[in-house]
């Protein structure tokens, strides 16, 4: 199996297991859907192992000020543990804490976060912060993480992020890493027609090998959306 979607799942599974994606080359023959299910399962297993300890840490953190928790989180816990705790902490408190952390660190946490487990926190984050973090992720070419959040953000926030991230390639890569067809359809419906046309032009002019990258479905969907939205 090959293609951007497979690469994306391998990167995400590598983050869960704490290994470089190259170490997972033995999964090359496993299809993307199976990889996604396995990754979600294994992320759950690792989190469940640590949950009792993390729950006690969250209780202990209630005795501390928001600023103190943010500082300890960023300086001591690191991105992975903060990502785990985001799904365990009360959402309002998690948002307060995260707003006291630096934006680059929030981008680190985002890369480690299982959005499904912190949906309430993501939904309560201010749009400005989400856009700022998304810009950092785009600068890092972390389209895998950008794509993971699309399904958990409101339309207005997705639109704000799209507007803040210029360029056709980031948009194309993020769309390629979206986890389900439903999310892809929703995102493409939000993208202004001009941006969609620009992405199609990019695919043609840059001679992107659509088949080799597993982008046939995305290309077909782009064409369908453009033809449906033609004046």
């Amino acid at each position: 199996m090959s293609g951007l979607a497979h690469d994306g799942e391998t990167i995400k599974l590598g983050r869960v297991l704490g290994v470089a994606p190259e170490r997972l080359a033995f999964l090359a023959s496993v299809d993307v859907d199976t990889l996604r299910v396995l990754r979600e399962r294994l992320a759950g297993t690792l989190l469940e192992d640590a949950r009792p300890l993390l729950q006690r840490a969250v209780k202990g953190a209630r005795l501390l000020t928001v600023g103190m928790v943010a500082s300890i989180g960023e300086r001591v816990f690191g991105a992975l543990l903060c990502a785990h705790m985001a799904g365990i902490m009360e959402p309002a408190r998690a948002v307060e804490v995260s707003l006291r952390m630096s934006l680059p660190f929030l981008a680190d946490v985002s890369a480690m976060l299982e959005p499904k487990r912190a949906a309430a926190v993501i939904a309560a984050m201010p749009t400005g912060t989400i856009v700022a973090v998304a810009k950092i992720l785009a600068e890092r070419n972390d389209h895998v993480t950008l794509a993971r959040f699309v399904g958990y953000l409101g339309d207005a926030t997705v639109l704000a992020v799209i507007a803040a991230i210029p360029g056709d390639e980031p948009l194309m890569r993020t769309a390629a890493f979206l986890e389900t067809r439903e999310i892809s359809t929703r995102m493409l419906a939000l993208v202004p027609v001009e941006r969609l046309r620009s992405v199609v032009r990019y695919l043609e002019e840059a001679r992107v090998d659509v088949a080799a990258l597993g982008l046939e479905a995305l290309r077909a969907e782009l064409d369908a959306v453009l033809s449906a939205r033609a004046p």
Binding site: S29, V37, L38, R41, L46, A50, L53, A57, L81
Partner: protein
């Protein structure tokens, strides 16, 4: 009958999708993945404990005892 490995987890509720996905894996792929998971699980717990211990040293002295009690209630 195969021997249980690190992918057979009693700690996480069974999910039919995951059970199917695991059953579809070729035995050599499953073995290699199980080996990585077997390394990742204790490492994850170790890292969590170490981070919490270190975090305690950053808690102001007058609160440290109370926080420690919540973390390690025994």
């Amino acid at each position: 009958m195969t021997m249980p490995d690190a992918l057979d987890d009693a700690n996480t509720p069974a999910e039919p999708l995951a059970t199917d996905a695991l059953a579809r894996l070729p035995p050599d792929v499953r073995a290699e993945l199980a080996a990585l998971v077997a390394q990742a699980r204790p490492r994850s717990m170790r890292d969590t404990r170490a981070a919490i211990d270190q975090a305690l040293t950053h808690v102001p002295g007058f609160l440290r005892g109370a926080v420690r009690k919540l973390l390690f209630p025994s």
